[in-house]
């Protein structure tokens, strides 16, 4: 029996101050993004195509249309934003910078409010990362920015025949057991000032990927960051430079570079619910 006050687990209820904070975060973000020449896009809640791209189909909430075709509720905005710009809006606009402010929904009843930006056809992640930084600066929060490159663990895995799971679980002991000096240097790398000495000792194929992190770190205006070259997580689409903004146990933002139909783009998503919690706590 459901009691009258119950709401499904994972759903969100904001009222009074938290609803006001949510509105303020979205206003600040849209202001920053409009100034950076982004335009807003609002995509349908229902989609025919999410199941083609989502990593774990079990996360999708399914319904059916009038012809009994399968529909799902939006569980990822980037997939639909990129597809709609390419396949449906291609003739209407050539604009490349888009942002969205809309929730995603996952099985069984999880709701997540997000603010995202996609810069279609752009290869330089610093372009969108700086907009994410400008938003957190405008919100007067300073999460730790983690700069990673998904290619590095993949290349090390190929070079040394190491299972990618060791990177996923950050199994330091087993990585150090390989007794490879340059691998140890990468494990301990954290600060930008140390990156050149590590670039010197790593194999050539990894040099290039570390250089990419270095250039990204130099191109952004933010001082609270760490370099985490071995971070690895199974990504839905990010395949090279990648970042997270973290504070305590929360992730405020994620973003990176991705390729769709041979077009390279960069983008990010801010997790509004976590930022609301943070701003609510600091008031």
């Amino acid at each position: 029996m459901m009691l009258e006050h119950e709401i499904p687990q994972g759903t969100k209820l904001y009222f009074g101050n938290t609803a006001k904070i949510k509105r303020e975060i979205e206003a600040v973000a849209s202001d920053v993004l409009y100034k950076a020449d982004y335009e807003e896009l609002i995509t349908p809640l229902f989609s025919y195509h999410q199941h083609l791209s989502i990593a774990d189909e079990k996360e999708l909430i399914r319904v059916n249309d009038t012809q009994n075709h399968q529909l799902t509720l939006r569980a990822d905005s980037t997939i639909d934003v990129v597809r709609l710009l390419d396949k449906r809006l291609g003739r209407n606009t050539s604009h490349q910078k888009w942002f969205y402010i809309q929730p995603i929904y996952m099985y069984p009843s999880k709701e997540l409010y997000q603010i995202g930006a996609e810069y279609i056809g752009e290869k330089d992640l610093s372009k969108t990362l700086q907009s994410a930084i400008d938003i957190v600066k405008a919100l007067k929060i300073k999460p730790l920015l983690q700069l990673s490159n998904i290619r590095i663990p993949e290349l090390i895995s190929q070079e040394l025949g190491i299972d990618l799971d060791l990177f996923k679980h950050i199994n330091i002991q087993k990585l150090l057991d390989r007794k490879v000096d340059w691998l140890k240097a990468i494990i301990y790398l954290e600060k930008l000032e140390d990156i050149d000495s590590v670039i010197e000792v790593v194999p050539d194929i990894i040099k290039l990927e570390l250089e990419r992190i270095k250039v990204l770190a130099q191109d952004i205006e933010y001082d609270n960051f760490v370099i985490a070259p071995l971070y690895y997580a199974k990504m839905l689409y990010y395949d090279e430079l990648y970042f997270r903004m973290i504070e305590k146990n929360d992730v405020f933002a994620r973003g990176g570079r991705y390729v769709n139909d041979e077009v390279t783009s960069v983008g990010f998503a801010l997790y509004t619910d976590k930022i609301i919690e943070k701003l609510e706590g600091s008031k």
């Binding site: 950050i170 973290i246 992730v251």
Partner: protein, 205 residues
């Protein structure tokens, strides 16, 4: 400052001994106290099954817990170091003389470790009816509650005394030093420093 979650009992004592040998001072919880604060560490005394939960939610930055518990809970934490202590196996036990027959249409298995059991039999495409128990698992096959049990085995003495024997091993477990994923990136030098110091002690053991 790092917060360290330790499971009550032998593992906490062993771990505090390792810290004592590293830092040359005694680390001891006052009677019945659950928090021990020192200038560089805050130790929390928690139930074994709760260690990974404290670390996952960052109530502790690092912790010490058995691999069997980690596998059972499946929480996304960093496995920093195998401490090579508390070595045991997660095994299948049956009544003495009985053989494990995976061709039966359905097996009844009693266990505390539902997820490990589910995974083991699912990988072998065997249908199982898992009965979750909280203790005295060895009793289940004796009274016809289950065909077999999945349980932690150290010496095998408890099984033997109850007329059971190990018919298959599922995994070997030992205690691991674990860390919270965000703590690792936020406090990397501190985490790697304690990792190195504990590794040296473990290597010399």
């Amino acid at each position: 400052m790092l917060t360290v979650a330790l499971p009550k009992g032998r593992i906490a004592e062993d771990t505090l001994e390792i810290f004592a040998s590293i830092f040359g001072e005694e680390f001891k919880f006052d009677d019945r106290k659950l928090i021990l604060e020192t200038p560089n560490f805050k130790f929390l005394l928690v139930r074994n099954q709760d260690v990974a939960t404290y670390v996952y939610h960052q109530a502790a930055d690092i912790g010490v817990v058995g691999l069997d518990t980690l596998e059972e809970q499946g929480l996304d934490v960093i496995r920093l170091l195998d401490l090579n202590k508390g070595v045991c196996k997660v095994s299948i036990g049956m009544r003495k003389g009985e053989k494990l027959d995976l061709n039966k249409p359905e097996l009844k298995v009693a266990t505390k470790m539902v997820n490990i059991t589910k995974r083991y039999f699912a990988e072998r495409a065997v249908a199982v009816d898992i009965i979750k128990l909280y203790g005295s698992i060895e009793l289940a096959p004796l009274v016809g509650l289950a065909d077999m049990i999945v349980d932690v085995v150290e010496t095998g003495a408890t099984m033997k005394q109850n007329g059971l024997e190990v018919v298959a091993d599922i995994m070997t477990s030992s205690t691991y030093l674990i860390a919270n994923k965000n703590s690792y990136f936020e406090k990397k030098s501190e985490v790697l420093d304690i990792f190195e110091k504990i590794s040296k002690v473990v290597e010399n053991d």
